[in-house]
Amino acid sequence: MKMVSYLVRHHLKMELRSLHNVMSLVIFALASTYTALQVLGGKPDPTTWNALAWIILMFTAFNSASRVLPEDLTAVRAYMHWTVPPRVMIIARTLHQSIIMIILSCLLLFALGLFLGSGNMDTLSIFGFLAGMILTAVGLASTLTLLSALSARAGAGYGLTAVLGLPLIIPIVMISTSFGTDLVTGVALGQTVQNLYYLGGLSIAIGIYGYILFPYLWRS
């Protein structure tokens, strides 16, 4: 546990030291939202707004997963291999990725609200939407962390993450988009809140599965 928190803090410290990595993700999210505003030329209708939100979140997640983490470099991995147990490694990586993604999804929702309006949602629904985004971000982070580790080990570059990841995240995306559609079309949060439970359950299930499988990936 101590090791996990140390590793996560270490990772975040590294992120802060070379801020350009995270900043490029932030710029990506802001720029896509702004481009959407330019293309649409005004406030979109709620369903378009919903689609844009999830698509940008999804691509941000892919971009975030495609950053090269230091422990994927061969030399560092050899060192990590002897010092950090793989289970600690996957928890730390997933947490680190999730924290980044949660921050990014908050920023994304803010940017969406700034440029494209709130998609006709009341305050409660916006918080519900944010909760859905955060849970989706965690689910995407845990799936893509495992896959990026896998494609790093395969030595096939990060194009493979996208090829393998896109179909695998479909269940999460299906639940979250239907949740978002409910919210923007005026369904009360209470009537569609079960989608949040499904999202949370799926995220946890994927996290546990990654936890079981990662050691097999990690060893050489």
Partner: protein, 353 residues
């Protein structure tokens, strides 16, 4: 004799599939009513043109009796047969009562060769008074009607009609795919347990998944054909269909992953990890997600396939052998694929040294 004993399950599989194809194309469809064209004139005389499917009206035109009843069976009135146009078309007429509890009427048509046929909501007529009348309704005596033994036939179902035969091809494809992906799942676990050094399990996993993908693609194609007939489009945006397509795509990703790793034992280990992941997502996509969402696909809310009461005995007689037969054929294909896989490996190692 030795050959038969050794290959009994191959022979059984081929035999079952031959039986299934014979039955699928030879068993006739049972009769049913396709549609009714009705009009009611100013003096409440209704004329109904009934179109039947696989019916034999002309063989005994005098022995056709037709009844209209309201949807809760409060009133039953008998219709007069005006004209039998052809084997599949008959014109009826009757005087509508001025008082009726509802305005939608179901049609019952009894004839000597087809038994009793039923068409819900055949006629709409707004009654003058919305009430249950005291007289005018007749008692329908079951014994007076013909009970016909039609012999072996597939049941008529509205909109599905002849395409019910696709049941024996479409559904077993998915069952077989699940079986093969299950084999792939088990073999992947074994690969990981053996630490990636035992490559036999990996070869088993990849060959079962390859054959599984083939069955999945066949399932998609037969499903698409069925969708064109019953829903009017080759593809509809539906959770069950999307789930099926995505799960086939996920397993194609498995093959892409394998082809991108050169080291043999690393390939075994990494692709095993991916395949375990893929199997769980397959289960989520095809078994769990469709139960929470609305879908056109039959058997929703509880069971993502046909529910029990949709299958009658004649369908079961073909459906169960079809499932077993396709599964046997699938396992046979898996065995052949495994053998080529192992031979390829042998050639590969010979080349390397």
């Amino acid at each position: 004799m030795n050959f038969i004993l050794k290959n009994w399950w191959n022979i059984l599989g081929v035999g079952l599939i031959m039986y299934v194809f014979t039955m699928v194309f030879m068993v006739p469809m049972g009769p049913g009513l396709l549609s009714a064209d009705s009009s009611v004139d100013s003096v409440s005389v209704a004329t109904i043109e009934v179109e039947g499917f696989a019916t034999h009206f002309e063989s005994a035109p005098d022995q056709i009796r037709a009844f209209l009843r309201t949807d809760q069976s409060e009133i039953i009135i008998e219709c007069e047969v005006v004209e039998v146009v052809s084997n599949s078309e008959v014109i009826l007429s009757t005087t509508m009562p001025s008082a009726a509890p509802s305005h939608s009427w179901d049609l019952l048509l009894n004839s000597k060769n087809d038994g009793t046929l039923f068409l819900p909501n055949a006629l709409y007529h707004k009654p003058l008074i919305k009430a249950v009348p005291n007289n005018g309704s007749i008692e329908l005596n079951e014994d007076e009607l013909f009970k016909t033994d039609l012999g072996l036939h597939f049941p008529y179902q509205p909109r599905i009609i002849e395409s019910i035969r696709n049941l024996m091809l479409h559904v077993p494809m998915w069952f077989t795919m699940f079986l093969l992906m299950g084999i792939g799942f088990a073999q992947s676990i074994k690969t990981l347990r053996k630490g990636g050094n035992n490559l036999l399990h990996d070869s088993k996993a990849v060959s079962s998944i390859k054959v599984g993908i083939a069955f999945g693609v066949m399932g998609l194609l037969t499903g698409s054909l069925w969708a064109r007939f019953t829903w009017g489009a080759w593809w509809v945006n539906d959770p069950q269909l999307n789930g099926a397509l995505v799960s086939v795509m996920i397993y194609c990703g498995y093959l892409i992953l394998r082809s991108s790793i050169a080291n043999r034992s690393q390939r075994a280990r990494l692709s095993a990890v991916y395949s375990l992941f893929a199997f769980v997502i397959l289960m989520v996509l095809l078994m769990i997600l469709p139960r929470f969402t609305e879908s056109l696909h039959p058997g929703k809310s509880g069971n993502p396939a046909f529910s029990k009461y949709d299958l009658d005995s004649s369908l079961r007689m073909v459906f169960y052998p079809a499932v077993i037969g396709w599964m046997l054929i699938g396992t046979w294909m898996y065995n052949l694929c495994l053998r080529t896989e192992l031979l390829k490996e042998k050639i590969q190692t010979k080349k390397e040294y």
